[in-house]
């Protein structure tokens, strides 16, 4: 988790999603850092330049393809936490180097390996390492020394996010209050507040998802029931014959329900596989990242618990949808079927 245990400071006019300012609001690096350092209760101050990729028309993309983070070299651990690198890689030596560390997904997409030089915005950069993590943001991130990022992206002496670590006995809430009182042009957010910003959106998405799931559930149930009723009706003579030769009602019931159960298991396997593939293809479509790069992370994109839930729901729907047709099958008697046929 980025900025773990830290307060983030952004410009008041920045639009922030979790810790990330996705639009607007640059802060003067030196003066803001100096002011923050002087606030009591502050342990460390780390200025960060966070740049999202922009679309061809200069518009901010709804789903950015990649990111760049400029962080003073000594503070990488503070911001990123303990992130391992792929073998033979190393972190940049100092703030004036042109070394960068690339996310695994970007490196795989462009075939970057440790030691090669790449060109970004007309500057030659040396890939000194590749992150070995499945963290989605870092996977698509170029991390470099702050001054290098400021130069490449033409934000001299500017940053858009400052991570402030409180002293051990200082509550984040008290620190953000102090920061806002002291510096009028910034907004300071605790970890909870950062999450609270997106929580209503996530809650709404969840509500919509639940609604859609419920509708799909009911529609599937009706569909399965209709198809099974038709299937049973087409085979009414078979069920009536079973009744005639003395099959117990429970046997006839089981025949239909087991049939729908097997259809459910097969449909569940195909559905989960197809759904997961669709999720990967959608992710690829929105990010322009080749779908093959998503394959290793399929279990992160569609967690196994979710797959199991979907599978269980599909099997459950099929079993449930088989109950009414099974009762219909149980009630078929040879005398009535033959009478209807002749």
């Amino acid at each position: 988790m980025l900025f773990n245990g830290q307060v983030t400071v952004v410009s008041k006019d920045a639009i922030v999603v979790q810790a990330i300012p996705i639009s607007g609001g640059m802060l003067p690096e030196d003066s803001t850092v100096k002011e923050l350092v002087n606030i009591s209760g502050v342990a460390t101050v780390t200025p960060v330049l966070f740049v999202t990729s922009v679309g061809s028309q200069g518009m901010v993309q709804a789903v950015p393809v990649n990111f760049t983070m400029g962080i003073p070299v000594d503070d990488w651990g503070l911001v990123l936490g303990p992130i391992p690198l792929r073998p033979s890689g190393h972190f940049p030596a100092n703030d004036s180097s042109n070394e960068i560390v690339a996310g695994a997904s970007i490196a795989d997409q462009y075939n970057w390996t440790v030691g090669i030089d790449i060109r970004v915005n007309g500057y030659t950069l040396h890939v000194s390492g590749v992150f070995d993590t499945k963290m989605a943001l870092l996977n698509r991130c170029l991390v470099m020394p702050l001054t290098l990022a400021q130069t490449i992206y033409n934000y001299p002496q500017s940053v858009n996010i400052i991570a402030v670590k409180p002293l051990q006995n200082i509550a984040q809430q008290n620190l953000t209050t102090a920061i806002k009182q002291r510096i009028g042009y910034v907004s300071a957010l605790t970890e909870t507040e950062r999450n609270d910003i997106v929580q209503p959106v996530l809650d709404q998405v969840q509500t919509w998802t639940l609604g859609i799931e419920a509708v799909v559930f009911v529609m599937s149930l009706i569909l399965v029931m209709t198809v099974t009723v038709m299937s049973v009706s087409e085979r009414r003579r078979d069920f009536a014959t079973l009744d005639a030769i003395g099959a117990p009602m429970s046997y006839i019931f089981r025949v239909v329900v087991i049939e729908t159960l097997l259809i459910g298991v097969l449909g569940g396997i195909i559905g989960v596989a197809f759904g997961s593939l669709t999720a990967l293809m959608l992710a690829s479509f929105y990010t322009s990242i080749p779908v093959t790069l998503f394959f290793p992370s399929v279990l992160e994109i569609v967690p196994p618990v979710y797959m199991l839930e979907m599978f269980t729901a599909i099997v459950g729907i099929c079993c449930l949808g088989g109950i009414i047709p099974a009762v219909n099958a149980m009630r078929m008697h040879i005398a009535e079927v033959l009478r209807a046929e002749y």
Binding site: D243, G246, Y342
Partner: protein, 224 residues
Amino acid sequence: MNIRTVNLTRTFRVGSSEIAAVKAVNLELKEPKLFAVIGPSGSGKSTLLNLMGLNDYPTSGNIFVDDADASQLSGRERRRIRNTRMGFIFQTFNLFPTLTALENVELPMSLANKSQEVQEEKALKLLERLGLSNRRDHRPKQLSMGEMQRVAIARALANNPEVIVADEPTGELDSRTAREIIILLQDVNEIEKTMVVVATHDEKIIDVTDKVYTMQDGRLKAED
């Protein structure tokens, strides 16, 4: 098994009118003989057989199976009798299309909870006896009409029933195959000492039956 009917009546409601398919039929089938019920279409033959086979319930009157009133039997008991003491042969064979000939014959035994070994042994014996050993793994669609009806006869005999109820067993067959089926039913009656009740239009069956009942407009009259 003895089957006796007393004032057996079965009516059906069609729209606002009631049609009596079987009217006050009194009948006693006692010994292991071959009985035929003949009559024109719609005369009530199949309805009578369905009632005697415990596949239908009378509107009024009674059916006695070995002196037990069938109306007092629970659904479970009626099923058990149909499964273990009766065998059914239908005009359209009513074999299960997804099962092989062998599996079709095994099914009534499986429903009677017989072991797989017993089922297979008995089913193979029956198929052999009916000249279908080489067709044991064929599904109904791969069989001729005559073969299908022979599989149906094997299925009806699977649980050594005391009575075979055959509704137009030769109705779908050509005359030569029909003749074969009639001989088979006669054999079953004579060798197994199984009572056979056949509803039919087929004059050839009449020649081999012990007793013929004629149905006309739901009423029954006996002819020897």
